[in-house]
Amino acid sequence: MLRRFALFGAANVLLAACTSPVSGGLSNKDKAYQKKVTRVLVATSFHSLLLTEKQNNVFIQPSELQQSLTAKWSPLGVTWQVVDFDAVTDKKKALVDAVESFAPTQVLELHTASFQLIGGVIRVVDGYTVDVSLTDLAEKKRVWRSTIEFRSFAASGRLRNGPAGSAIPHQEDANELVDALTAKLRGDGLL
């Protein structure tokens, strides 16, 4: 029994080592859309009402996303601003205000669509999936959509919670999120 358990554990580690913790899923682009992403408002809504405040610690912080965007998108000539929907009570007003002040061409919205809980007494979010959509403000329509998967510890080897579900940094997740977004947008001719 012990041997079987050890083999199962070793297999899991091997499997985890081969799988990227963050990766892009399929995407769907409006075929008629020709513009590139150059000035974009990034609106994030990672927190879920289905989770406790502590469980919501698993998600990327706005400052971490900003650091990744500075490192990875600014050199590409993309001008961006992040609006954190988790920090406001009126999302619609926050969006209108940000669009008015920043005047973006597009809005890239990221929101958590589903998540996986693990644990018994202390239950924490392990893996989750983020829905990503790009809306063109002049055309007033959604022109691109994709998903980004943050794989569970068992699948990727990445821990997203500290002891007893405490918060830990998620800079690696943020960097890989921006990498995955860059790859997907490039692949669809948007970057």
Partner: protein
Amino acid sequence: MLRRTLILVVAGGMASSCGTAPPALQTVALRSAPPAKKIERLLIWLPADDAALDPLVTANTFKSQLEPLGVAVQIGRSTALELSRADDQKLFIAGFKPTHRLEIDIAGRVGRAGVIGDTLSVSVVRVALYDATGATPLRAFTYGPIHVNDRTLAGTVVNELKTQGYL
């Protein structure tokens, strides 16, 4: 604020027992709720996520509740990476000519990890009633937590629509 609190109550049940709490219907307060007009032909729009809600079970339970009331029903579904729902619904609206649309979306899905992947999944759904082509909901609800093969959603929503004068 009230809506947030109500969803939190539902979510609390979900998070603590992962699906053992009974599902509850919560009405979402809307800025305007016009007087009800009877539903005669209803286009029901189901979510794309099969892992959250079984489309066949959901479609059949709604049909079995609504057809005896004289309501003609047609079922449509979101695509996985939907760009424009209005465009996707155009053919249905032109052909079926519904008096109303009932759109069901997954507000959130929680999976509980087992030894082999995702072993148990519960969701909260958002249900919104529109007129044939309107973009503003006439009535909206949240319902959950429910399992993928839930059979209680249709009866609960139909009863609520009866109470509110739509059926």
